[in-house]
Symmetry: none
Subunit: 202 residues, 4 copies
């Protein structure tokens, strides 16, 4: 099911095929940028991770900044694609909120999680132009959260303001990237529930 969403996005040309040279480069770049940080990852690191020489990188991307941007776009597109699907399948507001949390958790920690972690942690290193190009997409993404949280506020499920609560949850969820390893000793589902209960009083 998750695979379906990913495959769909690849077929639509929104995500690069992970088997293609470009896709392999993006995958390795996401991993390295996450592990070592954008600035500490050299173009040589990227090249050797995909088994080519450093000069060849520039056959695929104009410069290092363009690689960072591409990684981030992959991350956001993948996360949004999956979120949309899961939101559509959720019935109650609580279910929707749980879906958002689960998706975002998986975006940071799942097996395609590197790219989204890069979006969060390396954002400041993306050039101004690159940031501007991606900003609309990020805002769209945030709006999906705000919409659900406003609904929850109307239903008196939450007490804090949606804007503030979103920021607090965002911090909690993105920080999991630094400490959470699934099933050890905490399962995904438990963590999702714990975060859900930060938000709602029940």
């Amino acid at each position: 099911m998750l695979e379906t969403v990913e495959q769909q996005l690849i077929d639509d040309g929104i995500l690069a095929d992970p088997a293609s040279p470009r896709g392999r480069l993006l995958g390795q770049a996401a991993r390295l940028f996450r592990e070592k940080g954008y600035q500490s990852t050299t173009v040589r690191d990227l090249a050797s991770a995909v088994g080519i020489l450093s000069g060849s990188i520039f056959h695929h991307y104009k410069n290092k900044d363009a690689i960072l941007k591409a990684v981030m776009l992959e991350g956001i597109h993948f996360s949004m694609g999956r979120m949309r699907t899961q939101l559509a399948a959720a019935e109650t507001t609580v279910d929707k909120l749980r879906a958002l949390i689960a998706c975002e958790l998986d975006s940071m920690n799942g097996n395609r999680g590197d790219a989204m972690a890069v979006v969060i942690n390396e954002w400041r290193f993306l050039s101004d132009v690159g940031q501007a190009d991606i900003l609309t997409l990020r805002e769209e993404y945030e709006q999906m959260w705000i919409d659900v949280l406003e609904q929850a506020k109307n239903e008196r499920l939450i007490s804090a303001s949606p804007q503030v609560l979103r920021k607090l949850l965002y911090g909690s969820i993105t920080w999991t990237d630094k400490w959470f390893r699934a099933g050890d000793p905490l399962s995904y589902e438990q963590l999702t529930d714990d975060i859900l209960h930060l938000a709602i009083k029940a």
Copy 2:
């Protein structure tokens, strides 16, 4: 009162006097590391911020890594010192928890907040040796949180495990550094309360 804590730590030789050359360097370093990141801040940037030439930096610190470490030590010492004072003054467990949140929020966003933000955000850039040297201190700091949260758990104020809840709150609080500007439109006290209500059901 807060000034008292800071002054005390300076007098004890734990923090550098902000008026001394060393203290001015650390203050500027904290600010620059936070604003631009450790790696993007050059030794020249540091030197020119305190009005000396780049070569002279190395009369004060052995190398750039030593500066980062010193900044972090300042951040942690200051935060812990204040936290201890405030904890001692709090009576109930809820008061203690509120004190921890308020202190940590101020550690990230207050006027001595640069150093603590550097501890969080630039941690990975500190050398292994440096990290090892500081780790005990960070653990001591964390233990203060865990102690209070375990007490809260015993009193059934919180439901999640103290270890997990600490991590989630940590994420929420440290992330404020990226979006919160005091009084605009949210006050410090409101934000403290909002975070407190993530943790406790009341």
Copy 3:
């Protein structure tokens, strides 16, 4: 009439047919080498100017140096061909001199002028081997000038030594490439006359 000379040279296989792939490449190369300089023109620039990909360039020429050499040969052959025709048609020594000046001016500024400008301005970037191959031809070209100037000297039309005068005129004429745009406000004929009067006293 000029077209006749050019057509003749194409028919004789001395110049490439501008409609052929090779001819189009040489034309674009001449233009780009003149505009941006040999070193600043990349093989990709050349390829994209003729609508192919960079790798395909090397099916036509062994390397970039060979393209430069071919452009220069085109330039010299064309100039010499025309000069011979015009010299044959001139009766007096003054007419011959005027013909040389007019031809060389047009070689730099006319609609086939790019190649000759490249001969002059990019000469140093041609490989030693390439220079050696072309040198005889350039000497032959120069000899046409020297012959006429010696005749002029014998007829006391000029006072300076033919060798020196040739160099001085050469500088004046080739430099026009940097400032002269025909008819604005100076016509070709006026400029030709002005240069002629540098040489002869009349």
Copy 4:
């Protein structure tokens, strides 16, 4: 006497002292840019010519373009300084014209000639900003020529328009850089006279 002018300019801080590190760099840069061209001269070439390592170059100049600009400024300032002195000493218009020619010839071929040759031959490789910064100075320089040529025109010493004649003489003189070696077999004075007689009919 010439030395006097040069020394004066050095004392005034307009030219760099050839004995200083900066001055030595500029001298070698002028030589290399002239010999091999700006683009073919690497920063390593420059560094090794003055006996330092390539990275140290950037201690003196921000980038390669800044070196080119500095070389050009040296060339123009030196030429103008000397021209002004010589013009002031000349009495008749013919003397002035001869002085201009002699100065410009020496600017290209004398022992400080590298820098001026670079101004002429590498102009296109100076960045747009750099060109803009120098342009006023070049115009000032040209005006000195135009003024004398207009006077000559009024006195009916020359027949062509001052603007055109200047361009033609400019080409002749700057081209000497490619072929003239003083005293072999032509002396400076003879060459100056030959060029003077291109301009005036006498």
